[in-house]
């Protein structure tokens, strides 16, 4: 019934609005409500006697005319001074003072997008990542106060993500109530785009500008995205001003990220920039041991060393390790040299896509010559051999056409390439050459 009155009064007001001046309508009618209709007696509530007095003096006839029209009666209208809650009807007063339950921060589960096992404890440290590690622990100890922002860069698989997530985990462990966001640059971009598309950026702004800790992974992907950069720029300033900690990671230093606005890249560089180098042999072995521990495998150090020889990339190491473990489990055997060997060899067969230049470079490194020489016109025996091997690898790894191979190697004719390939095919039957080729391939895989 109440709702009916509300609706009816809305319509009546709509009509009255067209009859009276805007000022009168807003000051007098906006706050009125229809209370009841009984036997052609219409009761209307208004907040004060002063308002009622004015309405009765000036607009009684206007109201009566409209009300009569809608009700079909010859009505008599009475006014009572009463404030009816406008809009918000909830009498629940919820403010910090009158909150019954104090929300005690409880550590439940782990942070979204953050791997719980990426902590400082599971991170192997050696000279290649020592500086980054020290900086990260300092940041985790005093977020927002030591190095802000902390910019971590390095090639893939060196542990950038591990480090920034370890900081997030550490802060979360100590102060679960802090607002911590870990996000990849792609997700951040998506959020901004989404917000712009919905025409409501306030929610997104609210989300990112009220955090105590913000970690963004792979910021190099912001290149060329101007609107996103602008959003990041403002978020960045506000957060730094408020003393919130920011961690950024990228595959190259801020100065080398192209298509990033100057003002943004200079802010990236405003704190501490640390780089992580690819893990050295010892570190790789250590990483394998740590990872093995995670899978509850007691790995002999010899095995760890063997695996460490196979790859430079920590992520790949974990892949190898997993493969060996799975294989050992399925065959129900101990982890033996044999198992490692067969399993890793299988692994190598997986195709990796190279750039022709990468192959050329590897071959050049292997034979200690320059790429310009390989592409050049000279035909010394050693140069020709290297050139032919390159052709062979280009064919085998990339399956380029003869003409393409010729092109890549300084515009040679396809018949030259064909000849070269035939030469190498013949040579592969000789064992010394085949080991040489195998070695070269391993180098290439590790590229």
């Amino acid at each position: 019934m109440n709702n009916d009155y509300e609706l009816l009064w809305k319509r009546i007001l709509g009509e009255i609005e067209t009859e009276v001046s805007k000022g009168s309508f807003f000051t007098l009618f906006k706050t009125t409500r229809l209370l009841s209709i009984e036997n052609s007696m219409v009761t209307i509530a208004a907040p004060s006697t002063m308002i009622i007095d004015l309405i009765q003096k000036k607009f009684y006839q206007v109201i009566k005319k409209v009300v009569d029209k809608y009700t079909g009666f010859d009505t008599k209208i009475i006014f009572v001074p009463k404030t009816i809650d406008i809009g918000t009807k909830n009498n629940n007063i919820k403010t910090p003072l009158f909150e019954d339950v104090v929300d005690k921060p409880v550590q439940v589960g782990h942070l979204p997008r953050v791997r719980a096992d990426y902590t400082f404890q599971t991170l192997a440290v050696s000279s290649s990542n020592q500086l980054a590690y020290v900086a990260a622990t300092a940041v985790a100890k005093k977020p927002g106060q030591s190095y802000n922002p902390l910019f971590i860069y390095g090639p893939v698989g060196v542990g950038k993500t591990h480090l920034s997530q370890a900081i997030a985990n550490e802060i979360y462990k100590k102060t679960p109530s802090k607002k911590i966001i870990y996000i990849t640059s792609e997700e951040f971009t998506n959020e901004v785009v989404e917000a712009i598309r919905n025409g409501d950026t306030s929610r997104m702004k609210n989300k990112f500008r009220n955090v105590n800790f913000l970690a963004i992974d792979d910021v190099q992907f912001f290149a060329g995205k101007e609107r996103v950069q602008e959003e990041l720029f403002h978020t960045f300033n506000i957060l730094i001003d408020r003393g919130a900690q920011i961690i950024l990671s990228s595959d190259r230093p801020p100065s080398e990220i192209r298509k990033i606005e100057k003002r943004l890249s200079s802010r990236f560089a405003g704190g501490l920039i640390v780089d992580i180098e690819p893990p050295d042999f010892e570190l790789r072995a250590a990483i394998i041991l740590i990872k093995a521990k995670k899978y509850n495998i007691d790995l002999p150090i010899e095995v760890a060393k063997k695996i460490a020889e196979k790859s430079q990339d920590a992520r790949q190491l974990e892949g190898y390790l997993l493969r060996i473990i799975t294989e050992a489990k399925t065959k129900n055997s101990q982890i033996t040299d044999n198992l490692i060997y067969s399993s890793l060899n299988n692994y190598q067969d997986e195709k990796k896509i190279f750039h022709p230049d990468e192959i050329i470079k590897t071959v050049c490194n292997f034979y200690n010559i320059k790429p310009t020489q390989i592409k050049g016109p000279k035909r010394n025996a050693s140069l020709v051999r290297a050139r032919q091997i390159t052709m062979f690898l280009l064919k085998k790894e990339l399956n380029l056409s003869l003409a393409e191979i010729g092109n890549v190697l300084g515009g040679r004719d396809h018949t030259t390439v064909m000849h070269g390939l035939g030469k190498i095919e013949k040579l592969t039957s000789i064992e010394s050459f085949s080991t040489e080729l195998k070695n070269l391939t391993t180098h290439l895989k590790n590229y």
Binding site: K22, G23, S24, F26, T27, L28, P47, S48, T49, M50, I51, D53, L54, K57, K58, V80, P81, K82, T83, D85, G87, T88, N91, I93, T95, P96, L97, F98, V102, K141, K142, P143, G144, Q145, N148, K174, T175, S177, K178, N212, I240, D241, R242, G243
Partner: protein, 375 residues
């Protein structure tokens, strides 16, 4: 109408009435003063429909009558004319003002358009001593909320319940802080009947301003028509009551404390003002650290710097720390006249309680800001 009076009297009272003129008002008549001459007096009224103010000025009236004039113009002119006798009279063209060497005619609007401030004043609810209004009310009113979506918080609860064996009580809160003052029932404020009303902060702020007469202030409340009227001598203030339920404030007042410290109000005010410089860009957070013989106020903005200020204090209980919104502290301190204050707390997450040293009838509590400590 035709009446004569002293311009300086008019000038003085007009300032008061002008408070009820809101330039934001879209209804032209509400930008006018209602001027009414009757035997022995001239009354001037104004209203913005939320509050209404009426003043009476002694005058020698030859002919009764009433009209309305544009408030701004009238006030500006009255402010410029020298003290002395003036004559106000209605003419065909409008309201004529005749002074010693001045003659002005104001455009008028018929007084029929002007709303009545009130019909009936209702029963007399209580008499509030003008000292209470002057000294205590400001300590309460500032804690009201400006947020109109929660009407009950925008007013002050005034309660007087003889049944409950308590005296007059005034309390206001905006949900983050709360001010409360209780009087003993044996006080000289005569209790007419039990009463419990929420009066808008705006009305009470006005009451503080008009409280200039010598007499006590009489309060008339009519709950049926939602109205409160205050009288003091020749001034009348009309407002409306807030309907709604006041939050259960008794429950949140802490019953004890783990540390209490006594300090000089000026000291803390100065310290907090200094901290504000470094707090205003960092969510207004000021940290108070209560230690043995001192209290330390500190604030920091990572990009600006930080400062700490020591305040002499006498502390009993264990040392502790608490953080507040600077604005709340300043609001409180600037509305307190007393020199020595005390602060009590139980923990950094529980409301902190300020009292006037040696006076248990008043307290102000503020919800702390939860801050993270780095270990």
């Amino acid at each position: 109408m035709r009446t004569s009076l002293l311009s300086e009297k008019l000038q003085e009272k007009l300032q008061l009435v002008n408070h009820a003129i809101s330039n934001k008002n879209q209804l032209p008549i509400l930008l006018n003063f209602l001027i009414k001459a009757q035997k022995g007096s001239l009354t001037i009224s104004a209203t913005d429909l939320e509050i209404g103010i009426k003043v009476e000025i002694p005058a020698n009236t030859e002919e009764n009558g009433e009209t309305t004039v544009p408030a701004k113009t009238f006030l500006e002119l009255i402010n410029t004319i020298p003290a002395g006798k003036i004559i106000l009279g209605t003419k065909k063209e409008g309201l004529e003002l005749l002074g010693e060497k001045i003659k002005t005619i104001f455009q008028t609007v018929s007084s029929d358009e002007f709303p009545k401030l009130y019909e009936e004043r209702g029963g007399e609810a209580l008499t509030i001593s003008k000292n209470i209004i002057k000294k205590d009310l400001p300590k309460i009113v500032f804690a009201t909320s400006q947020d109109l979506t929660r009407p009950a918080l925008s007013g002050v609860l005034i309660r007087n319940d003889p049944q409950k064996d308590e005296g007059l009580l005034m309390v206001a809160t905006d949900g983050y802080r709360l001010s409360i003052k209780k009087y003993n029932s044996s006080g000289k404020d005569k209790i007419k009947e039990s009463i419990s009303v929420i009066i808008p902060g705006k009305v009470l702020r006005e009451l503080i301003l008009i409280n200039k007469g010598n007499d006590e202030i009489k309060t008339y409340v009519s709950k049926e028509i939602n109205q409160v009227v205050f009288f003091q001598n020749d001034t009348t203030l009309v407002g409306r009551l807030i309907e709604g339920e006041f939050p259960a404030f008794e429950k949140i007042i802490p019953q004890g404390f783990s540390v209490k410290t006594i300090f000089d109000k000026e000291d803390l005010e100065r310290a907090v003002k200094a901290c504000y410089i470094f707090a205003r860009n960092a969510a207004n957070i000021v940290k108070l650290s209560i230690q043995k013989d001192k209290m330390i106020a500190s604030a920091s903005t990572p990009s600006l710097g930080q400062n700490t200020i020591e305040i002499e204090a006498k502390t009993t209980g264990e040392e502790n720390e608490i953080a507040f919104n600077c604005r709340y502290l300043l609001d409180f301190l600037s509305n307190i006249g007393e020199e020595t204050l005390s602060f009590e707390m139980t923990g950094p997450l529980n409301p902190g309680v300020f009292k006037i040293s040696g006076d248990d009838s008043f307290l102000h509590l503020i919800m702390p800001i939860r801050i993270q400590e780095e270990t």
